[in-house]
Amino acid sequence: MVKIYITDCKIADSCRKCLKICPEGALIKVPLGKMKSSFEKPKYTIKPFYDRLCTGCGKCASICPKGAIRLKG
């Protein structure tokens, strides 16, 4: 199984390139911090919640402008 290591890139809200390029949909944008109200837009980070779907193609690691993604396995 491929292990995906993602460090907080701090630009997840505006960049989102890794999300768009992953062909299997293994990466997901999750909100940071506590939920203040249902409709106040939160800040996000990227987490590999569905890393079981990862085929190890490496497109996310290549496209990340901050080099925040590392694959192992």
Partner: protein, 268 residues
């Protein structure tokens, strides 16, 4: 009939007009679920629930968490696959049709797509709670057109309830984006996406071996027999979405009742 269908009525829960009545809105637990829908609460819910499954990968703990989560979904927000015919009937039984931006696509693929068909109390709820949110109000004719177009593109349909069995949403999904699909297949959250009431069956006499059904199936249940050069369906895996049936140029596939086939009986 699945666990959400009323046993003595023999109607599918989303085709039973009793389940659309406003009286069901008085239920406190249901009101709670409806208040949590819309806005960004969806995303926090995902982080906190799927997040737990992701972080706690040790075998025993994972099983306990999954068991508890599956148990609670009946009182929350979960869905079931439906065929296009049933989805069109749901549009006729419901009102206040409105399209939202698909939350799953925003979180996974970062796509903006108004394919999330909501009805009933959700339209007014979003308008009062978040008037800035962009929604598209439509009539039943437009709703049916959207469903047919989505089906032609190869998206399967799911019906969601806000505390079973009150239907609120019809999704048009793709396994690449659909979070319910991923939660079921990656984390074993069976109750978040129930299989449909039917399974597909190929009539070998009509099959021409073109393999179009093979390409279309999102659940990996269509297989090809190289010896006979015909497609066949693994009914233990089939979700009954009907995409193969609609795409077959020879009309060789049909949907039959899940409980009529030994392999698929009782498998949800």
């Amino acid at each position: 009939m699945c666990e959400y269908c009323s046993k003595h009525k023999r109607k599918k829960w989303f085709l039973d007009e009793e389940n659309y009545k406003e009286a069901l809105l008085e239920d406190k637990k249901r009101q709670n679920v409806l208040q949590k829908l819309g806005g960004y609460s969806h995303e926090f819910h995902l982080r906190d629930n799927t997040g737990i499954l992701y972080n706690y990968q040790t075998p025993l703990l994972k099983d306990v968490i999954r068991y508890l989560a599956n148990k609670s979904l009946k009182n929350e927000y979960a869905g079931q696959i439906v065929s296009l015919e049933d989805a069109l009937k749901v549009v006729e039984l419901s009102d206040n049709h409105v399209l939202f931006e698909c939350a799953c696509r925003k979180l996974v693929g970062d796509k903006t797509d108004y394919v999330c068909l909501n009805f009933g109390p959700l339209r007014d709820l979003i308008k009062t709670k978040n008037p800035k949110e962009k929604i598209i109000e439509i009539d039943t004719y437009e709703a049916k057109t959207i469903l047919k177009e989505a089906n032609a593109k190869g998206l399967y349909h799911e019906i969601y309830f806000a505390k079973a069995p009150f239907p609120t949403t019809l999704c048009n999904c793709d396994r690449k984006y659909c979070l319910a699909y991923k939660d079921r297949f990656v984390y074993g959250m069976d109750k978040i996406l129930l299989k449909g009431h039917e399974v597909a069956v190929v009539q070998p006499g009509k099959c021409t071996g073109c393999k179009k059904c093979l390409e279309r199936c999102q659940f990996g249940s269509v297989l090809f027999d190289d010896a006979t050069e015909k497609a066949f369906i693994d009914t233990t895996k089939c979700f009954g979405c009907g995409l193969c049936e609609k795409t077959c140029p020879a009309n060789a596939i049909k949907l039959v009742n899940r409980n009529d086939t030994e392999n698929s009986k009782g498998r949800w």
